[in-house]
């Protein structure tokens, strides 16, 4: 597309706005990953749009030198769907937190995924409401004591990957804010995908929910608790790759590799049409205290929404000819006085 002399660098993707996230916020590393990725994707800044709702994560568009809209709480997938339909030529990223995307925005999220609109949806999950200073969120664990739940939250949390798969999202992935390369690889795959891509990013809110993910994302814990999914390979994790996954009685279970036949280990298939296996994998961990899969859960093809809508316009033109205003006004029959 562009030769290397006119290619952008990460600095070209930054704006002059002072970044206002709290020092130590996980959002900084996600922002860095994005700014480093964009030049590698070799895309145009003017053709890139970031759309967000409300929340700390939703401040993201202000820090990217592209077109952007900081919208209203929860409505970013709907705003972005309209933009995608009107402008199928654009690269549209939708950024939000777990509250924005799964609470008030839950309905719009599942419909955007169901429709397979060409949007790259990144949900920064910190299991708390940060901007409003510390209420529990739809992904917070039961019993969590917060400002609005002094006796412990009564809510059972959503599992975002399960939700996305249930909404039949054609691309579902998970990454985390402590591994820049992993984030860049995941975002890159999302960008390449034609259609809706949902990426959950484990993100640390160091002010209101510090260390919530550390049990699985901190470097020393990753071997034991992060299960990297690699397409075409048996799912294995552990310092010596000593653990694997089998399907037993309708669920995914963790086994010691030495205890089972190699052939019974589940081989990861991103492209499996039926999302059931991916769903089972999403149920492996009940929370960030036990082995949790990361990587690409699902990547399948389905007709993309805006492209189909545009195609219908072309078909209509073929069938009826270009729109003729004078003819339409007369289409119900006329008479002359």
């Amino acid at each position: 597309m562009t030769d290397t002399s006119t290619r952008t660098g990460p600095a070209d993707w930054a704006t002059d706005q002072e970044v206002r996230w709290c020092p130590g916020c996980g959002d900084y590393s996600i922002l860095t990953a994005m700014r480093m990725l964009m030049p590698e994707l070799d895309v145009d800044r003017e053709k890139t749009v970031f759309v967000s709702g409300i929340g700390c994560a939703a401040r993201f568009p202000y820090y990217m030198n592209t077109y952007g809209m900081h919208g209203i709480h929860g409505r970013a997938p709907a705003i972005a769907s309209g933009l995608a339909m009107a402008r199928p030529d654009l690269d549209i990223w939708v950024i939000g937190g777990d509250g924005d995307m799964l609470s008030i925005g839950g309905n719009h999220l599942i419909h955007a995924l169901r429709r397979n609109v060409n949007l790259k949806v990144l949900m920064f999950n910190n299991m708390i409401y940060g901007l409003t200073k510390g209420q529990f969120s739809p992904t917070s664990e039961s019993g969590k004591v917060t400002k609005s739940s002094p006796m412990g939250s009564l809510d059972h949390p959503f599992n975002p990957i399960s939700i996305a798969l249930g909404a039949e999202s054609t691309f579902v992935a998970r990454t985390h804010d402590m591994d820049r390369k992993h984030m860049m690889d995941t975002f890159r795959r999302a960008h390449e995908h034609k259609g809706a891509a949902f990426v959950e990013v484990f993100q640390n809110c160091n002010v209101f929910n510090d260390g919530a993910w550390e049990g699985i994302t901190k470097k020393q814990n990753r071997d034991a608790n992060l299960i990297q999914l690699n397409h075409g390979e048996p799912i294995k994790f552990g310092a010596e790759s000593e653990f694997g996954v089998v399907i037993d009685d309708g669920s995914a279970k963790i086994v010691s590799v030495s205890d089972v036949a190699e052939s019974s280990l589940l081989v990861h298939d991103e492209n499996k049409e039926d999302p059931s296996t991916a769903f089972m994998l999403s149920r492996l961990a009940r929370g960030p205290f036990e082995p949790t899969p990361v990587g690409i859960f699902r990547a399948v093809e389905r007709t993309e929404y805006a492209a189909s809508a545009t195609q219908q316009l072309a078909v209509a033109q073929d069938q009826k000819g270009p729109g003729d205003l004078a003819a339409i006004l007369r289409s119900r029959g006329t008479w002359t006085v």
Partner: protein
């Protein structure tokens, strides 16, 4: 048919007739009414229609909840309303009689399908005895007709079963009425052949039923006369019969053509606005992208996104949808993006009366967003005016970069009238230019883009769309610095932005208010929306009775025409009839300190000419 020669029946000339067809929802009253309207239009009468749909899709047969009616007024003079009350009632079953009789004028004619007046049907309708012979019809001229029986006999020779023959009854009724008002037969024959193409048996049955009805009128000794209504002195030109929703949909598409912009509709089905979504969905060859969103909020949000991308964007709904969209519309106000929001008003509050008209959303249109969130408002006044109002709303949206509320209502949406087709080439060019260049410089003298730099005349901000090199910028709902558009909590800036958003709307180039009727009158009606027809007609009647009457009808409600205060201030009495509990009167009183009085009703029925006339007489008496 019979072997007697056709009788010499007197042919009376009438200046108008108001016919209401009423039957069960399955009886085809809408189709009958539509077709009668169509024939009359072709004959050159002026006309207006008002359908009355039941709220249920298929209520139990023969019940009051299932009654469907269609009123059509045809005249030899210019008319502006579908008529206050029918002079002729065509009744297909007891429930229809029960539901509609009270509407009929004293001494009016009732043509009744006697075959449907079985004991069971009479009971289902809530009658204790047969209304045909218990005195219920005293004071009216009733014409009993065994429509069912005759239709069954007429279609039997074509092999149609008795039960299926029932479905052709409405064509019998149409035939009878066509004879009664001397309408030609061919157009209906053509219509039957086109509509039911491929279903030969149905075509034969309907044709036979129609002819049977026509002949019945001519030969049966039931009617003492038949009638003629001459063509009205309409302006010469090409006409079509259009209802408000269709005209509005076409206006939106026309606006896209006139602005040379791709169009986008985000919408969610809701009575009575869904037809606009349907109509626009069929116009893909105009490049109209329609998006049936998952809910009302997504419908508006998707339009905001499309507008950001450079489309002429709309969202269409009714009252409940506007309530839901409030926050999203506030975002559009803050983003200063062009967008048209259509509210086809219906009875409220809450689910209210989905199929009945009301005009009680004006204050919501003005103030229905939190904080000071001004939005221009345009209101249609007649079915065909919905076309012009749509284009005007889009013109304002584009020129001033603002969401605009376009108000219609259930009566306009479903009523039809002849529309003198406009010359497409005479329609206004409402195109605006996208911003493609830097419009400012930074401290280092480099060119930059200031998304909130304002045009001196319109106070509109520039519209730079994604894809434009170099003009990358971010917009949002947080208060922004005038000019740069950067987030700003600065106290002076916020005051300035609130003031400039208001000034932008206040400065919109709205045409002056025009005084119709007697310029030197002491009394003036003030009106907006669908009451126009009745106000116009009431003014004429009052003038004919010797009163001096003026009226001002507003199509722009925010901002008001700049001369409105001055104009209204000249009158001793200003009366504002509204189908709400008082909304325009409040706005005018607040702004101009003029003692506007209101006449209010909220009964789900359009204001009649007689009611407005009576309200004026009452006001004149005081």
């Amino acid at each position: 048919m019979t072997d007697t020669a056709p009788r010499e029946l007197p042919l009376q000339e009438l200046d108008e007739v108001i016919i209401r067809f009423a039957g069960d929802s399955g009886d085809g009253m809408q189709l009958t009414g539509d077709q009668f309207t169509s024939i009359s239009a072709a004959l050159g009468n002026d006309l207006a229609t008002l359908p009355e749909f039941p709220a249920e899709i298929r209520a139990p047969q023969g019940t009051l909840a299932g009654v469907s009616a269609f009123q059509v007024r045809i005249s030899d003079f210019a008319i502006t309303t579908p008529g206050d009350a029918p002079t002729v009632l065509v009744v297909m079953n007891p429930a229809a009689l029960k539901a509609q009789l009270h509407n009929l004028v004293q001494g009016g004619a009732i043509i009744v399908n006697t075959d449907a007046f079985t004991e069971r049907n009479i009971e289902k309708a809530g009658y204790k005895s047969n209304p045909l012979d218990d005195g219920t019809l005293e004071g009216y001229r009733s014409y009993p007709v065994p429509m069912g029986q005759i239709t069954r006999d007429a279609v039997a020779e074509h092999g149609v079963k008795p039960r299926d023959a029932e479905r052709s009854k409405n064509f019998f009724a149409l035939g009878l009425i066509s004879w009664m008002y001397t309408r030609p037969v061919e157009p209906t024959m053509d219509f039957i052949n086109t509509k039911f193409r491929g279903k030969d048996l149905v075509i034969k049955a309907n044709e036979a039923a129609f002819k049977a009805g026509y002949n019945f009128g001519e030969t049966a000794e039931v009617f003492e006369a038949h009638y003629e209504i001459r063509p009205a002195p309409l302006a010469s030109g090409e006409y079509t019969n259009v209802n408000g929703n269709t005209a509005l949909a076409w206006g939106l598409v026309a606006a896209g053509v006139l602005a040379r912009l791709p169009t986008f509709l985000g919408s969610y089905p809701i009575t009575p606005a869904s037809d606009i979504l349907h109509e626009l969905s069929t116009m893909k060859n105009f490049g109209v992208r329609t998006f049936q969103a998952e809910d009302e909020i997504a419908a508006a949000a998707s339009a905001v996104g499309a507008a950001f991308g450079g489309a002429l964007a709309f969202t269409t709904t009714s009252g409940p949808g506007i309530a839901l969209k409030g926050e999203t519309l506030g975002l559009a106000v803050s983003l200063e993006l062009p967008m048209v929001i259509v509210d086809v008003q219906r009875g409220g509050p809450s689910t209210g009366l989905p199929t009945k008209p009301e005009q009680a959303d004006l204050l919501m249109a003005m103030y229905g967003r939190h904080s000071e969130s001004p939005m221009p408002i345009v209101a249609a006044k007649s079915p065909s005016h919905c076309f012009d109002a749509a284009i005007e709303a889009c013109r304002i949206a584009l020129k001033y970069r603002t969401p605009v509320m376009l108000l219609s209502d259930n009566a306009l949406a479903n009523s039809s009238e002849p529309w003198l087709l406009p010359d497409i080439n005479a329609l206004p060019d409402i195109g605006v230019d996208f911003e493609t260049e830097f419009n400012g410089t930074n401290e280092d003298g480099d060119g930059i883009y200031l998304p909130y730099l304002r045009d001196e005349e319109t106070l509109a901000r520039p519209w730079a769309i994604p894809g434009t090199p170099g003009l990358m910028h971010r917009v949002g709902g947080i208060e922004k610095e005038d000019g740069s558009g950067n987030i700003s909590y600065d106290p002076e800036n916020h005051q300035k932005m609130v003031d400039v958003r208001q000034a932008k709307v206040d400065g919109i180039d709205v045409p002056d208010a025009e005084v119709m009727g007697d310029q030197d009158a002491d009394f003036c009606f003030l009106s907006w929306g669908s009451t126009w027809g009745a106000v116009d007609a009431a003014t004429a009647r009052l003038q004919a009775d010797g009163h001096k009457i003026a009226y001002v009808h507003l199509t722009h409600l925010n901002p008001f025409p700049s001369n409105l205060g001055e104009v209204l201030g000249k009158f001793k009495k200003v009366l504002c009839p509204e189908m709400n509990a008082g909304q325009l009167d409040k706005l005018v009183r607040a702004k101009y300190l003029i003692d506007v009085q209101g006449a209010h009703k909220m009964n789900g029925v359009p204001y009649t000419t007689a009611e407005i006339q009576a309200a004026a007489l009452e006001a004149l008496r005081v």
